[in-house]
């Protein structure tokens, strides 16, 4: 990979100076893709290290996907106790936007910023596919530029992706509109009630198993109506957060 940063292909007007942190844990895989997505949305990506308790005054944080600590013990269980996570928990409680993608979602549940947990896929296989899902909540910090009911497609790749929670928690999530995404067409991992992503009561913390950062630039995304690899539905996550920062 070249050391030079790509020029942002899409610039959102009026968000000059937004800084979005991307945390790298040992075993994180998608930190560079997440940072690239941030830049393509028109913001500055700030690399954060798990062992550093400072978030360097960023405006929002992305916990990217991967296999932090090899998924040992439980996915996300050890990362949850990283110094950077104490800062993320504090900032999230203060309203800072936080997005957890895949392993990042698992870290958010282990850190109790989001309810439920992820267990092994019901079919026991690693799954990697272009996954359709329906946007159920278009009012969170990370989804406000989607429409409710919109069908989007972004890549999904995981082994421990089955979202589970007790019935009471699931009813609460549904009743409070905190189910943000639901799998469409096929439930790829046995997740309860087809849930692909959820948010906290404030709407600033969002976690999901599929990967928006892999669908941010035409030519490198999933298939769409425009043709092969043209899908850029993931970019809207990152432009949404910039929009929420402007209006905060």
């Amino acid at each position: 990979m070249s050391a030079t940063q790509p020029t942002p292909a899409v610039a959102t007007p009026g968000i000059g100076g937004a800084r979005i942190g991307v945390i790298t844990f040992p075993g994180t895989l998608d930190d560079r893709d997440a940072a690239r997505a941030v830049r393509l949305a028109g913001a500055e990506a700030v690399s954060l290290w798990h062992a550093d308790a400072s978030l360097q005054d960023v405006d929002a944080v992305v916990l990217p996907g991967g296999f932090s600590y090899g998924d040992y013990l439980r996915a996300g269980a050890i990362s949850r106790f990283a110094p950077a996570m104490a800062a993320v928990v504090d900032a999230a409680k203060g309203g800072m936007p936080v997005l957890g993608i895949c392993n990042g979602f698992q870290v958010l549940t282990e850190a109790h910023l989001l309810p439920g947990s992820m267990v092994k896929n019901d079919h026991l296989h690693f799954v990697c596919r272009e996954q359709a899902m329906i946007v159920e909540n278009a009012h969170t910090a990370w989804t406000n530029e989607f429409r409710r009911g919109q069908r989007i497609t972004i890549p999904l790749k995981n082994q421990d992706g089955q979202f589970v929670a007790d019935e009471r928690t699931l009813d609460e999530l549904e009743g409070e509109g905190r189910v943000v995404f639901r799998y469409d067409g096929w439930n790829p991992n046995g997740s309860r009630r087809d849930i692909a992503g959820i948010t906290n009561d404030r709407g600033n913390v969002v976690g999901l198993m599929p990967h928006p950062e892999h669908a941010v630039e035409a030519g490198f995304g999933p298939a769409s109506e425009e043709g092969p690899r043209s899908g850029v539905d993931g970019l809207t996550f990152f432009t949404s957060v910039l929009s929420s920062l402007v209006h905060a």
């Binding site: 439980r74 269980a77 309810p115 439920g116 947990s117 267990v119 896929n121 026991l124 589970v164 929670a165």
Partner: protein, 92 residues
């Protein structure tokens, strides 16, 4: 040397995909007696001295905070297993 053993199991209401895979494999080897399998975890925590009540309490706290996730798992036991270590030393 002392040892504390912590055992963690998936909650009964959580479908255990690994256990399900194992119960599917058993009959293929002729083990038709078993109708269900649940797979859990056993942690062996070593301590340099004896297992005191304080150490057992610390192990209980570690079991509840790090070794298990109460959303999906139960801590089924936290026990002083120092005798096992001694037995092993004798047998060796």
């Amino acid at each position: 040397m002392g040892r504390v053993v912590v055992e963690v199991m998936p909650k009964p209401e959580i479908l255990d995909p690994q256990g399900k895979a194992v119960v599917g494999a058993l009959p293929r080897l002729g083990f038709t007696q078993f109708s269900g399998v649940r797979q859990g975890k056993r942690f062996e925590l070593e301590v340099d001295g004896e297992v005191t009540p304080e150490i057992l309490a610390a192990a209980q706290e570690a079991a509840a905070t790090l070794l298990s996730n109460p959303v999906i798992e139960d801590v089924v036991s936290v026990t002083d297993a120092s005798a096992e270590v001694t037995d092993a030393a004798v047998n060796a």
